[in-house]
């Protein structure tokens, strides 16, 4: 039985030829615009994927270089790719970027003198919250512990109830 083909033989041939041409062209384009296509090891792939999500695009400041379409972000991705491929450690690559663009390039700021407040603020807020919570709890406790009425007040209440 003849194998079932969805396309006439000639068209299939054309398609194969087209794919054969387009695929390498697409890959070449991907490399040309600075998008890496492959790494030798899984670890390098992982390092690259982590790093591009931790470096900030300094042009479009609320985006990582992974998200950004800016030309600079593409350059930075390409550099991260090249350095990773050449076997550089993640720390060395981040240092490379920090030396050029400053600490701001890191989405995960290092703990140092000028970032101390930034790092401490969540804990400070937590402390303040704990303080407020403690105050509220204490207030409630005081309310429940309060003796309900003095004898005098009780007498007055009774009188009121009786409508005197």
């Amino acid at each position: 039985m003849r194998p079932v083909t969805l396309l006439p033989r000639k068209a299939a041939g054309w398609l194969a030829a087209l794919t054969a041409w387009l695929l390498p062209a697409g890959l070449a384009l991907a490399i040309a615009i600075g998008e890496p296509v492959a790494f030798e090891t899984e670890a390098q792939q992982r390092q690259y994927q982590t790093l591009i999500r931790e470096l900030r695009c300094t042009v479009c400041q609320s985006e990582t270089i992974h998200e950004s379409n800016a030309a600079l972000a593409a350059d930075m991705r390409r550099r991260v790719y090249e350095m990773t491929r050449d076997g550089q450690q993640a720390g060395a690559i981040v240092d490379f970027m920090v030396q050029r663009y400053g600490d701001y390039v890191r989405y995960r700021p290092p703990l140092q003198a000028n970032t101390a407040v930034l790092w401490a603020s969540p804990f400070l807020l937590l402390l303040i919250g704990a303080g407020v919570w403690w105050q509220i709890i204490r207030g409630r406790k005081r309310m429940t512990q309060r003796p309900s009425f003095t004898d005098q007040e009780r007498l007055a209440l009774d009188r009121l109830r009786r409508g005197e």
Partner: protein
């Protein structure tokens, strides 16, 4: 009891004050880590002459400006007349032509004038990255030893030149004479 009632008010005022201060900050002006460091080394073709190789040594010697520009950069266009004026002074202006096309860049210069003494051609932006370039135009001020003493990200204005760049250049020149 009074004080406890005032506490939220104080907190809100403090927060508003903090936010107000934040409004005044320009988040685009990042402090450059390169200030006080020697000009990063490079090896690039000259824009005008592809056979001529330029290095950072071509920019070093006098108190000089290094301007990073491109023909596609509209802010650079706006900055150009000021640079043309400045080029008549005694501070040499060197340049990086950043992520540009040589022919387009040369045509642009021939039409609107060329204030630069030497232009290094950096089509890939690789050297730009070493110099921490991220938003053209950028302008560096080098001292006689080739140390970066000042960096302006974005357009140079007459006010900035008069208030910051030129006084600093004069100071650096005086330092050199001593």
């Amino acid at each position: 009891m009074r004080i406890r009632l005032l506490l939220p008010l104080v907190a809100v005022v403090a927060l508003v004050g903090l936010l107000f201060l934040g409004l005044g900050l320009n988040s685009r002006e990042l402090p450059s880590p390169l200030i006080g460091k020697p000009a990063p080394s490079f090896e690039l073709e000259s824009l005008e002459d592809g056979n001529r190789t330029l290095t950072e040594q071509d920019f070093i010697g006098e108190v000089a400006l290094v301007n990073v520009w491109a023909s596609w950069c509209t802010t650079c266009r706006a900055e150009k007349p000021l640079l043309m004026e400045l080029a008549r002074g005694d501070i040499p202006i060197y340049a990086f032509n950043y992520r540009d096309d040589r022919e387009t860049a040369l045509r642009y210069l021939s039409v609107s004038g060329n204030p630069y003494q030497t232009i290094a051609y950096d089509p890939t932006g690789d050297v730009g990255m070493d110099w921490g370039v991220y938003a053209t135009p950028e302008t560096y001020l080098l001292d006689t030893q080739g140390v970066i003493r000042y960096k302006r990200i974005g357009q140079l204005t007459r006010q900035i030149l008069l208030d910051e760049v030129l006084p600093l250049a004069e100071r650096l020149k005086a330092e050199q004479k001593r």
